[in-house]
């Protein structure tokens, strides 16, 4: 491979190359490669997927197939603070939808959206394995449990700058 086929900065290209090499450019490690790549870039845009495909020597369609199959991977950038509301059964029966509604009206975005200033993004996920704390949400991996809709404002205030 001589160089990137798509528009991407030299440093980003080298970073992806380095990640792929750390997994011996093994296509069987595609999911691990994508985890590392998403950790670095925050999301997996087309250009990045093309470079990953070239490095691992597989069609970009296969990379895209995997990216679009798994909900953990995203092609859109998330907010600086990524909020995930758990909609597992335990959270659902304890009123997770009300928490989600409170977040939506507070942030004025819907599921999968990002606030205009890029600060918060809102997603739902299925079970974080903290059913005893239901209903639960996480912000950049930090868990907030036993929520009631009134907590939402206070919690978001923690992230005021």
């Amino acid at each position: 491979m001589v160089g990137p086929k798509v528009k991407i900065s030299e440093s980003n290209f080298l970073k992806i190359k380095e990640i792929c090499e750390s997994f011996d450019n093994n296509p069987g490690e595609l999911i691990n490669v994508l985890h590392k790549t998403q950790e670095h870039f925050g999301f997996l845009p087309e250009e990045v997927q093309q470079v990953v495909a070239d490095c691992l020597g597989i069609p970009v369609g296969r990379v895209y197939g995997v990216v679009s199959f798994y909900s953990f991977f995203t092609m859109k950038p998330k907010g600086k603070y990524a909020i995930s509301v758990c909609l597992g059964t335990a959270c659902y029966v304890k009123g997770a939808e009300k928490i989600l509604d409170a977040l939506k009206s507070e942030l004025k975005i819907s599921e999968g959206g990002v606030t205009d200033d890029g600060k918060f993004s809102l997603d739902v996920l299925r079970c974080v394995g903290a059913c005893g704390l239901a209903p639960v949400m996480t912000i950049n991996g930090k868990t907030y449990g036993r929520l009631v809709p009134e907590h939402v404002k206070e919690i978001l205030a923690e992230y005021a700058e």
Binding site: N26, P27, G28, E29, L30, I31, N32, L34, H35, R62, G65, V66, F69, Y70, S71, F72, F73, L87, T89, A90, Y92, V93, K94, L125, R126, C127, V128, G129, C131, G132, A134, G141
Partner: protein, 394 residues
Amino acid sequence: MDRSLLEGDPHSILEAMAICGYCIGADKGLIYIRAEYPLAIHRLQVAIQQAEEYGLLGKDILGTGFNFEIELRYGAGAFVCGEETALIHSMEGKRGEPTFKPPFPAQSGYLGKPTNVNNVETYANIPVIINKGADWFASIGTEKSKGTKVFALAGKINNVGLIEVPMGITLREIIYEIGGGIKGGKKFKAVQTGGPSGGCLTEKHLDTPIDYDSLVAAGSMMGSGGMIVMDEDDCMVAIAKFYLGFTVDESCGKCTPCRVGNRRLLEILTKITDGKGTMEDLEELKNLSAVIKDTALCGLGQTSPNPVLSTINNFWDEYVEHVTEKKCRAGQCKALKKYMIDPAKCKGCTACARACPVSAISGTLKNPHVINQLDCIKCGTCVEKCKFGAITVR
């Protein structure tokens, strides 16, 4: 439940995998773990390193000439990857789509090699069984299901959390003794076991001893070990709809019964909770569920109608009520809610009429007000504004 094992005692899993490798002649083990469990991942990484340092993993373990190494593979948020063939494809870096069995993984699995797939909890039992003996293990539990089981007890119950109980314990003991009964003194309605592939059990099952077979006989399953308690405020049609929403999201789309059939089930359930259901819809739910169960490719599709069938079997009256009386007794189905003003309690203060966002409340000062049902959007604002408790929801 499995997360607690991986976080709390990762060495028990590594030990069991090494034992398994020794038994079947494998020298490599892979742990497939959800990326959503960062702490469990970290602790497993630490434990693997420790085990390697002690010579309990790696080359020539304890001078026996037996080699065994363990690697981690991460999931990326796909429920279907709990199905073993899908799991194997995911570990190979592919889309987690299941394939037809046979060939079973034991014949052709990871990279086409014979593969033994086991659950975390199964492995966790192995070191104890070897140390204490099979007789000890078999002394706990029922005739066909031996040993203990960990459940994640959650929902409308006073004591939530993980519990380890002997097989054969009754739901009543779990809910009322360990769980401390229903929260807020409400009435018990159902307990959902086995996750989205399981079903709902009711009061009549409270004294059934819990084991693998009895749960299946009652229309549910052990599955994930989740045990979610529901009270009188939970609508069983809405619960079935919730599960189908999950299945539709998580269906991999490979086979038609699951991809299309479950979507149709969800549409019918939505129709019912919106107050537009008919008795024919209820029949269609049953027929379609049977077809999906019989024809779907993998475990996910074959079990996805379970929440529908078990709620239909155990809460038929509630379904009929939604259809014929347009009534949701739990008050969960928004479209079926009816807000009414009790003329005896209404003082005619106009607070509700002024607050109503769609001007659906009419009446004059100091005279009882009336809600125009056709305009009402069931937002509940009037109930909050009324100082006299004159507005009731049915």
